[in-house]
């Protein structure tokens, strides 16, 4: 990426009990900060907002410095024009919903306002809440109001620190579409903190992996997800590859949808989307099995031929499982037993067949893609 990246961050903090060395660039869209709790995700976001001061480095948005140690620049939070949606909303308890929404709006110069109350209220569906006090709102309602409040400052960057972490699955499903809409239509770059891989896959364009206060990788979600070496930081249970696919067609009789990728296609339970719709598909490593010959007499619809690229952890002792990176025209990760690797004599370069259970592909593993695929002919 260039010198004029939309978001350019390179900051350091070194204290006895706490150290942060974060460095990444991102172009617009949604950038996910991913890592375990305590990895420093929130610290990075607080530095962006101006609530935590780095000891050295710089933070620039669209070439404009918010912080530059060398140049002696450190804008106060109220002058950064960076919106912040906190994990628990942090609505002001003494103001009604309308008062909360207006708090930031009133403090934004009229010339800088790109969004009005009506736009935001309509987009978030919170018309009915305007007269209520925050204490009477549900978790999901609070988060929508918090998003609206931050948006009404017409920020140049929107920070979202695990905005869904405190919500149950239903409330998450209620908020996710709003975040997708924001990402796709509001044109505000978003930095999104999460430790949930399905959120990252569904929402993010760029992914930054943090561990122990350091950025260990930054890049496109698809690239990072298929890297076995990042596994210690992304969590083993969550292992899986991400494929960019598009809807090829539907099989009404059996309630299936065919999803195409560069070198083949995968059958998934029916999704109600038009042909050509780009999607991002996550396939968990534990849902993929390998065989040396094409399996016969199997119930599995999805069998993809490919080549082994890498086998993680086969040489060392440790757990009973290993992760195998297979190239099926796109990277795919399979979790199989160490014993299977030995008995089949698997090694890099070998031809294998990867089988994926259709039922393993559920809604949380699908994210809307962003026009990256050519629309398929019908």
């Amino acid at each position: 990426m260039s010198e004029t990246a939309m978001l350019d961050l390179d900051i350091q903090i070194r204290r006895r009990d706490f150290s942060l060395q974060a460095r990444f660039q991102a172009e617009g869209g949604l950038t996910a900060l991913f890592g375990r709790s305590g990895a420093g995700k929130t610290s990075v976001v607080e530095c962006l907002a101006g609530l935590l001061r780095p000891e050295s480095g710089h933070i620039r948005i669209g070439g404009l410095a918010l912080f530059d140690h060398a140049a002696g620049i450190d804008l106060a939070p109220e002058r950064r024009r960076v919106g912040y949606v906190f994990q628990n909303g942090r609505l002001f308890p003494h103001l009604r919903v309308l008062g909360n929404l207006q708090y930031g709006l009133k403090r934004t110069p009229a010339a800088e306002r790109r969004l009005g109350i009506d736009d935001v209220v309509g987009m978030l569906g919170i018309e009915a809440l305007l007269d209520r006090y925050p204490a009477t709102l549900s978790g999901g309602e609070k988060q929508r109001v918090a998003i609206g409040r931050a948006l009404l400052t017409s920020p140049n960057l929107l920070l979202m620190d695990e905005p869904l972490a405190a919500l149950d699955a239903d409330r998450k499903a209620e908020i996710l579409p709003f975040i997708e809409r924001l990402r796709d239509h509001a044109g505000i770059p978003i930095v999104y903190v999460s430790h949930a891989v399905d959120e990252v896959i569904r929402l993010a364009d760029t992914m930054v992996v943090l561990s122990d206060g350091r950025t260990v990788a930054a890049g496109e979600v698809e690239d990072l997800m298929s890297r076995l070496d990042l596994r210690p930081f992304t969590g083993r249970f969550e292992a899986g590859a991400v494929l960019n696919v598009w809807v090829i067609g539907h099989d009404e009789t059996y309630g299936l949808t065919e999803l195409g990728f560069g070198a083949g296609s995968i059958w998934a339970p029916a999704v109600d989307l038009a042909r050509g719709t780009p999607l991002r598909l996550r396939i968990r490593a534990r849902d993929v099995s390998l065989s040396l010959t094409p399996p016969t007499g199997t119930a599995t619809l999805n069998v993809l031929p490919g080549t082994i690229v890498d086998i993680e952890g086969a040489a060392q002792g440790g757990g009973p499982h290993v992760d195998v990176l297979v190239n099926v025209g796109a990277p795919l990760i399979a979790r199989i037993t160490r014993r299977a690797v030995d008995s089949l004599g698997l090694r890099p370069g070998q031809q294998v067949y990867a089988a994926i259970k259709t039922s393993a592909i559920d809604r949380p593993s699908l994210g809307l893609g962003r026009n990256r695929r050519p629309v398929a002919d019908s």
């Binding site: 109220e78 003494h94 403090r107 400052t153």
Partner: protein, 227 residues
């Protein structure tokens, strides 16, 4: 009520009102400093604020007399430059009451400030509010139950103030003879018992009224804060 009782009551209310009104802003400022800032000598400031709570009131009264008297370090310029005399006037009684009530007020406000989620103030900053703006629009309203409690506490303490007052401004009818001092005076007289009982009843009624009023107000504020 007799004329004397009405006069003592009026004076007490006047002294207590001004004691609280004049010292409340300072109490809020000191409470904020103690709640939010870390600086060398903080425990010394904390100690000085709490002195009236632990020293005998007579000592405070004497110190006030030394400081605010016609020849005191504060009293002299106050008189020479502004023509204000506080010693042996109701203003002095208000100062004595304020000093004695001050630690109680600071404590109550400090507790309510410390109970405010600092994250809310951070959120306000990211929404474009300067630190002063945050204080006025967020911190103060959220601390209002504590500030109200402090005012009521200070008012009640001021109504009851005796030792520092009688030492500093003496017991002058119509000027510094508040309810407790009037009560004291009556107990020193051979036939004062009946009058003393009446003053006791008046004191109890005022105290109860203040308590009930503050409870009602606190309930309303709490409802507004959604707690």
């Amino acid at each position: 009520m007799t004329a004397l009782e009405i006069e003592a009551l009026r004076l007490s209310l006047q002294v207590a009102f001004w004691a609280v009104a004049a010292s409340l802003p300072l109490a809020i400022a000191i409470a904020w400093v103690l709640a939010r800032l870390e600086f060398p000598g903080k425990s010394v400031v904390d100690g000085i604020v709490h002195l009236p709570l632990i020293l005998p009131p007579v000592v405070i009264g004497y110190l006030l007399l030394a400081g605010f008297g016609r020849h005191g370090v504060i009293g002299a310029p106050l008189h020479d430059w502004f023509g204000i005399t506080v010693a042996f006037t109701w203003k002095g009684a208000a100062i004595a009451a304020a000093v004695m009530a001050f630690p109680l007020m600071v404590r109550a406000i400090r507790l309510s400030l410390e109970a405010i989620d600092k994250g809310l103030e951070d959120a306000a900053r990211t929404l474009g509010a300067s630190p002063g703006d945050v204080f006025l629009t967020l911190t103060l309203p959220l601390a209002s139950p504590g500030i109200l409690a402090a005012a009521i506490l200070g008012f009640a303490r001021s109504l009851g103030e005796f030792g520092a007052t009688i030492t500093f401004v003496s017991n002058i009818p119509g000027e510094t003879r508040t309810l407790p001092l009037a009560l004291y005076t009556l107990t020193q007289q051979p036939d004062g018992d009946a009058g003393a009982v009446r003053l006791v009843v008046i004191s109890i009624i005022i105290a109860l009224a203040a308590l009930l009023a503050s409870e009602a107000l606190a309930r309303r504020i709490k409802r507004r804060l959604g707690a």
